[in-house]
């Protein structure tokens, strides 16, 4: 059975979209919920548990979306910066390595 993955939704505001365009990564955005741009970085269950422990404000929406939400804005900015730097969404292991 495939390992279950849990997304962290990085909602793309104008500032983030500009950075993606500059890096030639605008195509990395998915569209969700009637026009919202989002980059989805996926965590496995172990990474999810670590995120919830390291960032106590974060919440796993187990009932509805199965996504990890309410990470502090600066943490999401840092994840986003790592995605732009690596030009890839597979950055969580490296990102969490610093915690």
């Amino acid at each position: 059975m495939a390992e279950e993955k849990f997304p962290i939704n990085i909602w793309v505001n104008e500032e983030r979209y500009e950075k993606l365009q500059t890096a030639g990564l605008a195509d990395m955005c998915e569209e969700m919920l009637a026009g919202l741009k989002v980059i989805r970085v996926y965590a496995n269950s172990e990474q999810r548990d670590k995120i919830l422990k390291v960032f106590p404000t974060a919440k796993f929406d187990s009932a509805t979306t199965k996504s990890i939400e309410l990470l502090p804005r600066e943490v999401k900015d840092a994840i986003f910066a790592k995605v732009v730097e690596k030009k890839n969404i597979e950055i969580l292991e490296e990102f969490l390595g610093q915690y």
Binding site: N9, I10, W11, L33, A34, G35, D61, T65, E69
Partner: protein
């Protein structure tokens, strides 16, 4: 004509006029109360907690824990308790038969006729009410924070709370609420329980419940209303601020997504216990007393974590349905389907692989990221008002912060007692 509330008992406001209050409270021992107890004093005195006339004695508490009923047989699911430490009881020389003056904001609030002083095993209470004794369950945590001695007896408000703006229009006690419903000509009113700023999933929950409640009634004139009943109580960091919750719900009416003919926003003071199924029963009792005929229940109503199954509340409600004067309206999830290009119900749409679920938590995450959600998901009037509330009431944030907790305007104050 008498207004009959939960348990078949008449709703009576237990509130003294100023002159009588001054006379009756003269010389009484004063005991200050915390906000949870102040909230419950208001709930008891105005009739939200009918048939309760005060804080529970041991027999009622035991019966609620073991049978989910008061000793008079009425269904009741959550203990309503007044606690003091043994030291506070002995230092103040409090004994059964005393009358106490309960104060809040250093001003007289209620008279408490102490009928009984007793102890009760808190773990036993938690297991019975919450189905667990774990202190990470917020209801258990609240129970363990009670001091060790409980006092039961009737209460009477001696001083009405002053509800502060912007909450004041939304404080509509049971007797007044029932008059409003009559004035609107509503024959059925369905409750929407909330502690959230509404996204369109909530809006469609309400609209769906409105359709369900309407059923066979005549459509020649408006006969069904939705009552948004926001729970106002203890806040946690990261929650939406209370001002944003109550004002945005009313904004759905003002901005025309609903109208005066089918929508009303109100508040109830209550510190959520997150008791899941038992809290669902409790909400039914509160809203019965407010005069509602129907109550919306979604999945995991008033639950927390993984303590309760998605439909446990529905199953427990079914066991006492014949004794409740309110009809449950069960609601499926609403979601966005890009194929349909609209918000739809999981019970209707069959583009299952394309469904995009959203929740209050997800919307909070979008707002936190500085993004304005599309109008299909979050009404622009609601978004703009959330941002306005952040500036006006939230010290720059629409979410509860330490600064908000420290400096916010209280929802109510108790003024000095004067004739």
């Amino acid at each position: 004509m008498a207004e009959i509330g939960h348990g078949g008992k008449e709703i009576v406001e237990r509130i003294l006029g100023p002159a009588e209050a001054v006379a009756k409270t003269k010389g009484l021992k004063s005991v200050p109360v915390r906000s949870q107890i102040a909230n419950e004093l208001i709930d008891i005195a105005y009739g939200w907690f009918t048939p309760l006339e005060g804080f529970m004695g041991k027999a009622d508490l035991d019966s609620v824990c073991k049978k989910m009923r008061l000793t008079n047989g009425a269904v009741w699911s959550i203990p309503i308790l007044f606690d003091l430490s043994e030291g506070e009881v002995s230092d103040n020389g409090i004994k059964e038969g005393d009358s106490l003056l309960l104060t809040f904001d250093d001003n007289p609030m209620a008279m408490f006729e102490v009928e009984e002083i007793y102890n009760y095993d808190k773990e036993e209470m938690c297991q019975a009410v919450y189905g667990t004794t774990e202190d990470k369950h917020p209801g258990c945590a609240r129970t363990y924070q009670y001091k060790d001695t409980f006092l039961g007896g009737k209460i009477t408000l001696v001083n009405r709370p002053k509800i502060n703006p912007p909450y004041d229009p939304y404080f509509i006690p049971p007797l007044e609420m029932r008059k409003r419903f009559k004035g609107k000509g509503w024959e059925r009113i369905v409750a929407h329980q909330t502690r959230n700023v509404p996204h369109t999933g909530h809006e469609w929950l309400m609209k769906g419940a409105w359709f369900q409640a309407y059923a066979e009634l005549s459509i020649e004139k408006p006969l069904v209303g939705v009552l948004v009943n926001a729970i106002i109580g203890a806040k946690r960091k990261g929650d939406y601020i209370d001002e944003a919750i109550i004002l945005t719900h009313d904004e759905l009416r003002k901005a025309g997504y609903f109208g005066d003919h089918n929508h009303l926003t109100s508040l109830t003071f209550w510190d959520m216990r997150y008791a899941g199924p038992r809290e669902a029963i409790f909400h039914a009792m509160l809203r019965t007393n407010l005069g509602l005929t129907h109550h919306m229940y979604g999945r995991d109503h008033a639950g927390v974590g993984t303590y309760y199954g998605a439909y446990d509340a529905h199953h427990l409600l079914a066991t006492v349905q014949d004794e409740l004067a309110i009809t449950p309206v069960y609601s499926m999830n609403w979601l966005y389907c890009p194929h349909c290009g609209e918000i739809t119900s999981e019970g209707l749409c069959n583009h299952r692989d394309e469904w995009q679920m959203f929740s209050g938590t997800l919307i909070r995450s979008i707002v936190q990221d500085g993004v304005k959600p599309p109008r299909l998901i979050f009404r622009p009037e609601v978004f703009d008002l959330v941002m306005e509330c952040a500036e006006k009431y939230g010290f720059g944030s629409p979410f509860v912060t330490d600064e908000y907790l420290e400096k916010r305007t209280p929802v109510f104050n108790i003024p000095p007692l004067s004739t």
